[in-house]
Symmetry: C2
Subunit: 349 residues, 2 copies
């Protein structure tokens, strides 16, 4: 029986709606197993700018630092996206949070669900059985290098230190050892110096993991192979920007971005969030898919070492998929709302 304090950052757009369903499922788990989960909501993103002028208020960081885990919805608002001159933006909140909490590894499982094969844009026979885990470095690279303007140009610097590569690579190797013993480093070592450092470090470390077969793909090739041969991948390890691109791309294997959870881990508390964005067009319509948020909650349970509880949530999600209790993006004729899908899954738990 566990007591856990969970900070919830609902964020913008559909973030609050999907968080509510994840909380509902976590509460059902707590009730069934006798745990106590305390939820506290804080501001981050566009909603935090609107309320305080700051995309990541001090008190949000403080609360996160004292939490046992963080559940994040999504952040972002189109009013900032098309205003390149905006000085304060929702994404700064997320990026600063990742950095302040030292969340250096973002872990994204991608699986082809048998019942959703028809829904994927890929031919069913290509994806059936695909099951990969993407390790994306999350606090380095071009996201966090110095950036700015000179009179007539702009710059973004990308840097990686050995340490930044080693710590996430260990996690990826360890995870590969427990899975199908295959690790693919994705880089652009034929062009980038940072990629050559990644390759050097991973080549060295591979000797410490003799059971793991390592291969290396250039990012352009990887973007193609993910679609051509998704089953060929087990664990993928890559830097921040490439991981951002490839993990969204890989969502087509699952059939929808609305299914994909992620965990971000580091030195302190861990954070769990769907990989989808704030999807502002869907806000308030009850059509957002809560499954990615609910599976993120399942990853949180695993992180608490509540494997049985986590498995139950995943089973409940499978059950919803099989019974076609789905939001409209996965089943255009579905009568089920965000809340109904969440309740169905919570009920099964």
């Amino acid at each position: 029986i566990l007591n856990k304090k969970i900070v919830v950052l609902p964020g913008d757009g559909i973030g609050p709606e999907v968080c509510n369903e994840a909380i509902k499922v976590l509460e059902a788990v707590a009730e069934r197993f006798g745990h106590r989960f305390y939820f506290e909501k804080y501001l981050m993103g566009a909603c935090a700018i609107d309320a305080t002028g700051n995309p990541l208020p001090e008190e949000t960081v403080d609360a996160c630092m004292e939490a046992d885990a963080i559940l994040l919805g999504a952040i972002g608002d189109p009013k900032y996206d098309n205003n390149p001159a905006a000085k304060v933006r929702p994404e700064q909140g997320l990026l600063r949070l990742r950095k302040s909490l030292g969340l250096y590894a973002n872990i994204r499982p991608v699986t082809a669900y048998d019942v959703l094969l028809d829904h994927s844009p890929l031919k069913n026979t290509r994806i059936a059985g695909a099951d990969m885990l993407i390790f994306r470095e999350l606090t380095g690279g071009i996201y966090f290098g110095e950036k700015g303007r000179t009179a007539d140009s702009a710059y973004d610097n990308c840097t990686y230190s050995r340490l930044e590569i080693v710590r996430i690579a260990h996690l990826a190797f360890q995870s590969a050892a427990l899975r199908r013993q295959k690790l693919t480093l994705v880089d652009k070592a034929n062009v980038l110096e940072t990629s050559r450092l990644w390759r050097e470090v991973v080549q060295d470390m591979a000797q410490g993991y003799p059971d793991v077969a390592v291969d290396y793909l250039f990012v352009d090739n990887a973007a193609m192979q993910l679609i051509l041969n998704p089953r060929a991948f087990d664990v993928i390890l890559t830097e921040n920007m490439f991981g951002d691109i490839l993990s969204d791309e890989a969502s087509v294997i699952a059939g929808s971005l609305g299914l994909l959870p992620s965990a971000s881990v580091g030195n302190h508390v861990s954070l769990f969030e769907p990989i989808h964005g704030s999807y502002p067009q869907a806000k308030g319509k009850g059509i957002a898919n809560p499954i990615a948020a609910i599976l993120s909650a399942a990853m949180m349970l695993e992180h608490f070492n509540l494997q049985k509880e986590a498995d139950l949530v995943k089973e409940a999600v499978h059950n919803a998929l099989e019974k076609q209790v789905l939001t409209p993006e996965l089943n255009p004729t579905s009568p089920y709302s965000t809340e109904q899908v969440g309740s169905f899954i919570a009920y099964y738990v």
Copy 2:
């Protein structure tokens, strides 16, 4: 009746084989229409390192400068890829050539061929009718920024000036105006300062092209939308690294990288090359698909304003596709070699 001097850079791996077929087709065109094409071969890439120690010998650049057009095969060799410490690498030759010739715009058409729909990893109904043109900036960004090492880390700098963006954006807008009047800028303006500059410049320029509808996609979303909704794209405009990734990814729409040509244009002479790599495993086996190189030659003919000739080559390629005169990667039971596919197409011209 034209006289043209064409410098051929066969390069490494399958480069020489596919160049030979493109030359064969260009010679057939010349004979049929009475043109004179003079071909001169020069070294670049791993073959140039082996022969001279330099991936781009001085005399290669000089010859290119005086040519009417350049045909490039492919460059790259695995002996450099897995040696992050190598100081001299084949890719340097290609990158320096792009820079020396000012080839700032790489133009990559991607089309779904009806007869190859079954071959694509994507469901036929998703891709039928897809037809897009990718404008990739080719001489700026993180490819060409300062890069290097410090004691324990590596860095790659990305910069873009207004001018670098404006000149390729004009080409993309003009091309969109002649096509389906849609231009999509792909960037990561929610994170990168360079992307914000791209968005600013393109937003400003859009006013000069009132007939072209402009939209903006973050690169992670674009990587997903390319697979989900390939028909939604007309002209895509993007920076160097994103263009590298997205254009290889988009090749799955055509069914094979072996079908996709490209043209690189700039201030001086233009260069035509398949987008595929040197595919060293296939070297000398007669299994390389020459179609991407042959379609690159067709783009060269268009560049010479020989539209009728170019159309004939494209028709000949379609004919080969329909008659299934294809190398094994497109038809595993095919008895046709690289040379036979090339001869079949040349014969039809």
